[in-house]
Amino acid sequence: MTVIATTKDVENLTVTLVAEFDATPDRVWDVWEDPRKLERWWGPPTFPATFTRHDFVVGGESRYFMTGPAGETPRGWWRIDAIEKPRRLDFANGLAGDDGEPAPGVEPMAGYVTFEATDRGTRMTAVTRFIDTAQMKAMLDMGMQEGMTQAIGQIDALLTPASV
């Protein structure tokens, strides 16, 4: 796998990731569609996600929670806005309350994912767009939590190059 580029655009409030995988678009699509595969990568190793619902059709919704090291379970949801298997996926991703349902007052962020066949396999472009700075901040608070956990999880994997 190669991460080709990540781009942050503060004017348009987007974060874009472009990655290439040595697998066909169908197989890359499958890690989004199959909830058991999805939950193996959506959350960091120390904050694994559990999808209790994953209705992967246009207009369908998902519910998930993450389990943190102290037993905390932040909850989130998806709504699928567009699907063109295995080329394109648009979805909304928001914060949920303790009941698992969308939290009022916090707009979801938008995810736009495309999958292109290449000589080597698949190029996946994932764009996350925030609506405004306030929402970005709210989502970053959650992202922060995930990011911090990753940082801890990465210590083992990356200690060698990071510490010299």
Binding site: V3, V10, L17, F21, M124, M144, G147, M148, Q150, P161
Partner: protein, 145 residues
């Protein structure tokens, strides 16, 4: 260059777009560690301060050169008092510091906070880089051990 991340991000603020982060880089990794020391209140203040385009612009000026409040005020179609208020918001967010020099108040950018704010955005970016890495692992090992 411990401030590299913050400088990159400030280019976004001033000009609107684009940076690339290579992974893995020890530099970003080290920033992740620093970043944990921000409290929720600090995060609120920093993003609240950066939500306003005039304040981002003032911050951009202060990063390029230290500026007196009156020199800053000359550059905006608003009163000295209004500019002073914007500077105060930036100051509360610890994005700038003010220093009295004779009759002037000089505004300096606070690089330590800028580094932390840049890292907040980086954290989200890193989240996706790590997700891509895990997807690659799943594709290499579809059954999951």
């Amino acid at each position: 260059m411990p401030n590299f991340g913050s400088i990159t991000w400030l280019c976004h603020v001033q000009f609107g777009r684009v940076t690339c982060a290579q992974w893995p880089t020890p530099l970003i990794y080290n920033h992740m560690v620093v970043d944990i020391s921000l409290s929720e209140d600090e995060i609120d203040r920093i993003f609240g301060a950066l939500a306003d385009s005039t304040r981002r612009d003032i911050l951009g000026h202060a990063i390029r050169h230290e500026q007196s409040v009156s020199a800053l005020a000359c550059q905006y179609a608003m009163s000295f008092a209004a500019v002073q208020k914007h500077v105060a918001v930036l100051e509360r967010a610890t994005l700038v510091t003010k220093e009295r020099r004779g009759r002037e108040q000089i505004v300096h950018a606070n690089r330590a906070t800028l580094g932390k704010a840049g890292t907040l955005l980086d954290a989200y970016e890193q989240l996706w880089i790590q997700r891509a890495k895990r997807i690659a692992d799943i594709l290499a090992n579809p059954k999951g051990e």
